[in-house]
């Protein structure tokens, strides 16, 4: 018989435990009761079509934990999360991590739409947020959440981050302006077609008789004027607002020539209408606005995308805490156990000093506190970026944001909400963003002088012609302005940007700030975080040495298995199956359902023991084995086994030591490629690691990185980069942890890993979505081409002006040629930028980099 898969989660079914249940009139097999009950629930709600629609299997049901949603019915808890719309209705956002494909969205919508009191349901598969309007006195919120849980979607309320809202609002704002500009552009172009074809000069040249009646021309012109005025007033507003602001600060940026171009083209058209001249440039005004906005939208879209892909509840610090009492009333508790205060969920802002907070296994610590009960391990990767677990005993400070991995603990609150270490890091990040140095872009420099030059030339021309031929002065000045219109110049960068963005997306890199590529080329120093950036950030097994294989052979006979390496690893995996320790995770792939361990006992910070097939096994540090395995006592000496400095895990059974296992945080396999490439470019490399151990030095030696800094806190990293800036160096920081967020925001340029923390990804200028460091080599090459295209665009725009302006100054260029020239020069810029998209370019980058990979 072929292998059976679970109808719901598609996992292989253990033949012994198959559960069968009727779903929509057919018998189906399930791996566990949880999956069966979910499928039954979906079916009984008449939503069984879900199983046809889905393109990915569903998440396996959680059979152990029963989620309780009752706490979310409390008003003070709800106030933390939800925005009240009016007295009864509030906007609810739930984070549902198991949304996997479009069918899940359909299922959630279909289920919720049948619940009384729920309306306007929206599901976003990218941010995994389900939002709806909820009327308070209809269905209890906990019931609604339970209903989602019943169909296989455990959920938590979600406090939407300001970043997401802001970026979404900005994007929508640009989108509206773009839409208006686009519609206006189509209209004016339609009118312009009539005006161009009916142009008297054109019809005379080609001897046709399509000349427009002057009243008809006036109509077309006036209507274009109305449409364009609206576009200019609404769509182009951000440009001259920015330009005005930049003039006030004394820094002229790219928005200055853009505004200048718009006003020149619009103003001269207006003048021509009023003076009965036939030429108007309204089509140029609207098209130009549209194109520039298109470039801005592309950038806003990337930022919006990055902000939305965040959110995973594991990366979130809870805003609720389980309060079990206060130090002050500890005496009375001891005296009279019955007065023990009930467990009570409170928003952390309502916690007082010396409150006692209970944190269960698998939960994230909500507040900084001293442990007063329990021993455990903390996973602090969220705060420090280091994957090694940290031991927490009575008296140690537990930091908000660390995950409690082993045993329930009680904390006495130390730093209240707002003063926690995590809050400090976020503050550092914000101050970093404000202090971020900005290098002047090539185009900004050109734009500054160009704008000034245009204004100067135009005023000289006007003055000159008033002395010579006053009646022609204004006309000639206008044609000079039209010719010199900085349209082409303003389009030089956005067009190249849009094309580069397309290639970057293919490379798996999202760039959130337009200065990124240009600054990249000026980089003198690249700074790496260690764990999660240069390394994978997860532990893998690198070596298994059998020390006394015979012990193992002796013990495993009854299981009827080949007693080799995989089998040993499977033994350990079954011992570690329930543990969240990163070392335990390394064994997970070797798990064999046929081997079951019982009587498992963890010793925090040391090891684990358990029974397999009647024999007791021990896995842990040499010290742990020394203390627990009687036959190993006195016999065990790490030197005897050639174990050296690196931390080894020892496996032993009751009868003696079996093997030693070496685990390692794997270095990313393409870290070498990148570091070598950077050294070829004469770029200095640094490691800034939060890990105080010597691992970073070893890694630096291995990769050939020049400078290493160990045990750095978030503010140290920031200080290090700032001191580099003072020496005139240009920095590029690559990191992933929340502790990297401040330094990412202060560096000239920064890249976050796609697998990194949410905060680091919103702080960075670019994100490596695919986590491939070698992609950066391509990005460097692309940046060079990008710059070449921008430079040639700028030269073209300037060169064109250098030739045509003198001709216009002396009145050689008729206005219609000026208009054609203006459009043509913009088109050339566009065409030049699309050269970047040329397939050959992309293939060339790829080809060269593979060659380099081979060479390395």
């Amino acid at each position: 018989m072929t292998a059976l898969h679970c109808f719901h989660c598609d996992e292989l079914i253990n033949q012994v435990q198959t559960i069968e249940q009727q779903i929509h009139g057919k018998m189906q097999s399930f791996c566990c009761l949880g999956c069966a009950s979910i499928a039954g629930m979906i079916d009984s709600n008449g939503l069984v079509d879900f199983y046809d629609f889905r393109s990915q299997s569903s998440a396996k049901a959680n059979n152990e934990k029963q989620n309780s949603y009752l706490i979310y019915d409390k008003t003070n808890v709800q106030q933390q999360y939800f925005v009240a719309k009016n007295a009864k209705t509030s906007h609810i956002q739930l984070l549902v991590e198991d949304i996997r494909c479009a069918a899940c969205i359909w299922l959630i919508k279909a289920r919720l739409s049948r619940v009384v009191g729920v309306s306007k349901i929206e599901v976003d598969s990218l941010s995994k947020i389900v939002s709806f309007d909820w009327t308070a006195d209809t269905t209890l919120l906990s019931k609604i959440m339970q209903k989602l849980d019943d169909i296989g979607f455990p959920c938590t309320p979600y406090c939407i981050e300001n970043e997401i809202v802001q970026k979404n609002n900005y994007r929508n704002d640009i989108l509206k302006r773009l839409g208006v500009a686009g519609l206006g552009m189509m209209q004016t172009m339609m009118f312009a077609t009539g005006l161009y074809l009916g142009d008297s000069e054109l019809t005379n040249t080609f001897n046709t008789s399509n000349d427009l009646a002057s009243s008809d021309r006036a109509l077309l012109q006036w209507v274009s004027l109305i449409v364009t005025s609206f576009v200019l007033w609404y769509s182009a507003a951000p440009f001259y607002k920015n330009a005005y602001r930049s003039v006030l600060v004394g820094k002229i940026g790219i928005d200055m020539p853009i505004s200048l171009a718009l006003f020149i083209a619009y103003g001269s058209s207006l003048y021509n209408i009023l003076n009965n001249h036939p030429h108007v440039y309204f089509d140029t005004v609207t098209m130009f606005t549209f194109l520039i906005l298109l470039g801005r939208l592309a950038e806003a879209q990337t930022r919006n995308f990055l902000a939305r892909t965040l959110s995973s509840s594991k990366n979130k610090i809870p805003i609720l805490a389980r309060r079990v009492g206060n130090e002050g009333d500890a005496q009375s508790i001891n005296g009279n156990p019955s007065s023990l205060p009930k467990e009570d969920w409170l928003p952390i802002v309502e916690l007082a000093k010396y409150d006692t907070v209970l944190v269960k296994v698998g939960e994230t610590v909500p507040i900084d506190g001293i442990i007063i009960e329990g021993d455990t391990w903390f996973d602090q990767s969220f705060i420090t970026g280091e994957s090694n677990l940290v031991v927490g005993n009575i008296g140690t400070l537990a930091l908000a944001g660390s995950i409690n991995t082993h045993a329930p603990i009680k904390l006495r609150t130390e730093n209240l909400s707002g003063q926690r270490l995590i809050d400090q890091i976020i503050q550092f990040k914000q101050s970093g963003t404000q202090n971020k140095p900005h290098l002047e872009m090539q185009l900004d420099t050109v734009a500054k002088y160009f704008s000034l030059a245009v204004i100067l030339v135009a005023s000289f021309v006007y003055l000159g012609w008033t002395f010579y031929q006053p009646e022609k002065a204004l006309l000639v000045t206008l044609s000079v302005l039209v010719i010199s219109c900085p349209c082409a110049l303003s389009l030089a960068v956005p067009t190249a940007q849009a094309c580069t963005q397309a290639i970057l997306n293919k490379l798996g890199v999202a760039v959130a700030h337009h200065h990124f590529l240009e600054t990249l080329l000026k980089t003198t120093d690249v700074l790496f975080d260690k764990t999660g950036t240069l390394t994978e950030g997860k532990v893998t097994i690198s070596q298994v040495n059998f020390l006394h294989r015979e012990q193992f052979l002796h013990s495993g006979e009854a299981l009827n298995k080949v007693l080799d390496k995989p089998c040993l690893l499977a033994f350990i995996a079954s011992l570690e199956a329930e543990s969240e320790h990163p070392i335990a995770q390394a064994f997970l792939p070797y798990l064999d359902p046929a081997i079951k361990a019982t009587n498992i006992k963890y010793v925090v910070g040391e090891g684990v023991s358990g029974d397999i097939d009647g024999l007791r096994y021990y896995v842990g540090s040499p010290l742990f084995i020394d203390e627990n395995v009687p036959s190993a006592k006195a016999k065990f000496n790490s030197i005897d086994y050639n174990i050296g400095d690196q931390p080894h895990l020892i496996v032993a059974s009751n009868s003696g030591i079996i093997a030693s296992i070496l685990t390692q945080d794997q270095t990313r396999n393409d870290a070498h490629t990148l570091v070598n490439y950077l050294h070829d470019l004469d770029i200095q490399t640094h490691i800034l690691s939060g890990d105080p151990s010597d691992k970073s030095t070893l890694l630096a030696k291995q990769l050939g990185i020049n400078n290493v800094q160990q045990g750095m806190l978030a503010q140290n990293k920031m200080g290090y980069v700032e001191s580099l800036h003072q020496q005139g160096r240009i920095s590029l920081m690559i990191g992933d942890g929340i502790n990297d967020a401040p330094v990412l925001s202060v560096a000239h340029n920064s890249i976050a890993m796609g697998s990194g923390s949410d905060l680091s990804r919103v702080s960075a200028d670019a994100v490596l979505i695919n986590n491939q460091l070698s992609s950066l080599v391509h990005v460097f090459k692309l940046a060079k081409q990008h710059k070449a295209v921008i430079t040639s665009n700028i030269y073209w725009a300037l060169g064109y002006n250098v030739i045509t302006i003198p001709m216009a100054v002396f009145g050689f260029i008729p206005p219609y040629l000026a208009a054609i020239g203006m459009s043509l020069s913009s088109l050339v810029v566009l065409w030049n930028a699309t050269r970047l998209l040329n397939k050959n370019t992309f293939e060339k980058i790829r080809h060269e980099s593979t060659k380099q990979l081979v060479a390395n």
């Binding site: 929509h24 009139g25 057919k26 018998m27 189906q28 009984s44 709600n45 008449g46 939503l47 069984v48 079509d49 046809d52 629609f53 494909c101 479009a102 069918a103 969205i105 359909w106 919508k109 279909a110 929206e122 599901v123 976003d124 598969s125 990218l126 979404n168 929508n172 989108l175 509206k176 839409g179 208006v180 519609l183 206006g184 209209q187 339609m190 009118f191 009646a213 008809d216 109509l219 077309l220 209507v223 109305i226 449409v227």
Partner: protein, 104 residues
Amino acid sequence: MTAIYLLIPISLIILVIAVRSFVWAVNNKQFNNLEDISQTMLFEDTIQDRKELLAKQESTAKATANPKTQNTQVQSPSKLKLTKESTGIPEEINKQQSSNHDQT
């Protein structure tokens, strides 16, 4: 050419309507999530098709009183109620399920 004195104002009115409806759509979050909607909307169509097929089948079943087609209706009472809403996959459509049926 006098037609343009009528047509151009009409085009302007249409332009205003187009701009207003676009702005309305953006303000009402119609553009917030373009990826998911494009996929889920097809599901509703499929369900509609199935419902129609089922209705057809039911009517033919009533007309001919064929015991075989009645088979689809022999379900628990709760399901009978729900077929009205969205369920009811006729065996002809769902290949996977019909093959499972053959096995049983």
